[in-house]
Symmetry: C2
């Protein structure tokens, strides 16, 4: 059922299985225990970073299918995307999976876009086993969006670090698992930020916009949620989110950012935090969904943000349009509680 | 209802309005009468081809909203995509439309992907006014995928010409208009073709694959359809499609290709035909949908094909994975016929 921009599912679809894989730096993550596979070589034995990302996404897909107990022929539809020019990590990965495929692009917001669309298809009965899958690779992304690594560009304190990681979910109309209660697809917002090394600042307005819509559409209150997970505003964008919420008079649930969670605050912290289509996707599968499954949190918002520029638009001195998609998730424990007499 | 890979809608959603715009070469198209706006300057008054494509897509959006009688605030969701790296033509266009947006990438298949997803959302009651919108620009695409125009690269006889065009549709759960009866999302196929100047050969196997699924899933027969419109196999890919169908023992409806239709066979013909995300989209809106509305055709298949490589994967000597999405369209005249006593 549509309420404003928000789609509320009367029979919420279910995340039946999920998987996360990561690279070398992610193997030192505070969340490492939640990953299904961690690679010690960021080339994954391939001759290029681009092919390494395909292998990373393929590795995530294999883990996901194995955990779900599915053969490749049993997938109804895959929504997948990544940061490589023209989404090639996903398209080439899909050569190895004989299943219907719809390619998406939402930069770092792609996982929420994919999960939202998968939930819509499952809720409508248009797919029994729908996958949402995204990835990013630090080295491929730097070459794509900024400068080749060999150039040795200096990173500013506001710069985020693209995660070498992938995450995936299997969504079904019913069954055991975390439930997708609602989805809000975001609207593009551009506050005129032009610094590709400060994406947190560019993306925070999009996140606030989507949150304003969600709370207005549903009438929900911040205290109904255990956590607001954004992905990936990093430290700079997270501070701006709090400021923008205050300006708007919007109360937020306790806030954590996937980019900050992935690399932590300790010695393994990187710049202003992590980012990339694989960052929020892997934190979702390695941390958020397991917490919901264990009942440590009952109801959370997952809001993935994306900066929709390219290297060409940056060189042409365009500002950065951004988007944020929201997915409301509920623990199976919350359902049991509801069903008690 | 899902039958194999094919989604058959019990209450088919309706294309309530549609629009097509084109550039200078397209102004000489045999289909020019069907276009809503034709620009005589491929820069559209902008300083770069990339910005020109944004203006082109914006022009198409304006025409579509005007024909549908909608204000910008009345759109529930937009599915849009293009060929520029990281889909920037669409993302930047969406700055100007305050509406929920999901970015897609399917190369030249993007219009069928967008229309298919829009139909799913409308059929499921998850959107009353869902847009599908795609564009391409010859000059932006050449720089993106091959070489800058200034380089003056020689074109081979198998090369297709990326259309400078955009097309869009408004899909609603019910009302007057052409009905979307079924959608088949395609599977990635890669027959090892590496020549980026012969995309027709790369894409034909994906088209056959999707057609095989559709006919097997639905039990429909070729003679039930007035036309099979592919977009965009061009002349080379169209010949291969016929050959592959013969090999598979698959009877096809009378076949037309959007890439061949757009520039015709006369003196305005270009290479092996047109291509690009805006080619099949504009031919759909300028030719196919008007024919269905006028009752000149009752039931057709629209199968848009996409070559999912990038300049990086080409330079890394990868082959070209391809995909084809199918949308079954029915004339309102066919519905009236059904309803006769």
């Amino acid at each position: 059922m549509r309420q404003g921009d928000t789609l509320c599912f009367e029979n919420p679809p279910v995340i039946r299985a999920f998987a996360a894989v990561g690279g070398k730096r992610e193997a030192g993550s505070p969340l490492k225990e939640g990953f299904d596979r961690l690679y010690t070589d960021n080339y994954l034995g391939k001759p290029s970073w681009e092919q390494a990302e395909q292998a990373l996404q393929t590795g995530c897909l294999e883990q996901l299918l194995a955990k779900a107990g599915l053969g490749p022929g049993q997938v109804d539809l895959v929504f997948a995307g990544d940061l490589q020019a023209q989404c090639t990590a996903s398209s080439y990965t899909m050569r190895g999976l004989d299943a219907p495929f719809a390619g998406l692009y939402g930069a770092c917001s792609t996982m929420a876009e994919a999960l939202g669309l998968a939930a819509c298809m499952a809720a409508a009965g248009l797919g029994q086993r729908v996958l949402a899958l995204t990835s990013s690779h630090f080295c491929a992304a730097e070459r794509q969006f900024r400068t080749p690594l060999d150039y040795g560009g200096k990173r500013t304190p506001t710069a985020q670090w693209t995660a070498t990681a992938a995450g995936g979910c299997l969504v079904s109309p019913s069954g055991e698992g975390v439930r997708v209660k609602a989805v809000t697809f975001g609207r593009v917002r551009d506050y005129g930020v032009k610094d590709i090394n400060n994406m947190g600042a560019a993306m925070a307005p999009a996140a606030i916009q989507t949150l304003l819509h969600f709370f207005e559409d549903t009438g929900a209150r911040a205290e109904e949620f255990d956590c607001l997970y954004t992905g990936d505003l990093g430290r700079v964008g997270s501070r701006l989110l709090a400021r923008l919420a205050e300006n708007e008079g919007l109360a937020l649930p306790p806030h954590r950012d996937c980019g900050c969670l992935l690399y932590g605050e300790g010695p393994e912290a990187v710049g202003a935090g992590g980012s990339g289509a694989g960052c929020s996707a892997s934190v979702l599968a390695a941390h958020i969904l397991p917490r919901l499954l264990r009942g440590e949190e009952k109801r959370v918002l997952f809001v993935a943000t994306g900066a929709l520029m390219s290297q060409t638009t940056f060189l042409q001195r365009e500002s950065i349009p951004c988007i944020a998609h929201l997915v409301e998730l509920e623990s199976p424990a919350a359902k049991e509680r509801e069903e008690e007499p």
